[in-house]
Symmetry: D2
């Protein structure tokens, strides 16, 4: 059901988006799981994981889920992103993003992401939904 | 895990919010399922189910999921509601809302709802997330 | 800057979407203002104006602002809609929607709407943002 | 109408949130304007300003607008944040955030932000709305 492996997606991402956060743990039918090791640049006072870190990480995880379905397309563009902050994420633990595509249409993809802290994977720290405009087929 | 039965919630809703849409099919731990029979007032041209109908129905389904957890509290107030429209829902079939609470805190609850058409329950027609301000405990 | 008059848009709406709520008060460059007289079908207990009424009314007001710019196109489709509920709107007064397009691109339009009660036009009751997928040009 | 000056807010922010992005240009009644000089850490390929940079910057600008109204309160917590990406922002120019509070209640504040590129201040690059849970008054 997927057209790229984890390794292929990692290579593609390193090429087109070298600053991206996180490592892919797995991809599957309409979904992806990624893990981010927290560095100083991801923190805000607490220390806890900053909001922009979590929003950007969620965005990458959905992009990975899209790539796994449609193949190496550098031009999927985020059109909207909505998030609910649920609890603080300790800066001393990795965070893990579970991304799921809700719809993959011809022109638009919609997905959701739940991010948890490795400190307690049962309590989500942020929930994100986002839409992507897909490239026109040549 | 729930503190009210389907019947208790239906009676409570009929009392505090008689105009509410839909019937409760089941409630469970942090979740509720409701079904709406489509009438003329729910349609837009097509005929398909109108956007306000689906948004309002999602809101009721999350309110029901909250009631099932916290008991008869008339004052949970929707503070934000976000939706992605995924596909048209035929006006000739019921719609079914699957609501799930993502967080139930002391002051805020956050949940998501996937609505499907009874014509094809595998293809969601709308995805909604929403937040609720909970009443202060006396 | 607009390509349709209020009268032309009203006729077009009556034709393609006869169930639409509200009357157009004015349209202008990237904006529209509409007024809704509240009837029994728009109420929830209080009585106050229901959430679905306000969300649906905001959606129509943005559609009108788009029509005023691009002409009679029946197929602009709402792709996402986000709202923050700010205060209760009394069911005894009209509500007024001020819609403004933030972006009108080739494929997507994005806009925002502030709805006020005629009882106090300085205190908004809901803020809405939404995106629309525009029809392909023939 | 404001209870803190730009200098007081800058000092307070440096104290409680030293990693924050941008400089305050002005604050006023229910609003704030900030400017961000783009560095390497804010870029994605293009080079253009990254999404997390813009989302984080919008969040800071709304927090500044809240501080200007309620005084030094370290505990306003972002509860939801929604954004529409409108166009790419060149990585070679500053970005400017115009933040406006739509509602400042006892428990919740809601605001919106329009970010423009200094390259063309008439074309917004992102529109953000967000909610904040305010600290309980002692």
């Amino acid at each position: 059901m997927t057209v790229m492996t984890v390794e292929q997606i990692e290579h593609f991402l390193d090429d087109v988006f070298p600053q991206h956060m996180g490592k892919i743990e797995s991809v599957g039918d309409m979904r992806a799981t990624m893990r981010l090791t927290i560095g100083h640049e991801h923190l805000r006072p607490g220390p806890r994981v900053s909001g922009p870190t979590m929003m950007g990480f969620a965005d990458v995880a959905l992009y990975v889920a899209i790539l796994a379905q449609i193949g190496p397309e550098p031009m999927a563009v985020t059109s909207d992103l909505n998030c609910h902050f649920l609890r603080a994420a300790s800066g001393e633990h990795d965070i893990i993003a579970h991304a799921k595509l809700i719809k993959l249409g011809r022109r638009l993809a919609v997905g959701e992401v739940l991010i948890v802290s490795a400190a307690d994977e049962t309590k989500p720290v942020i929930h994100v939904t986002a839409s992507y405009v897909l490239p026109d087929k040549a």
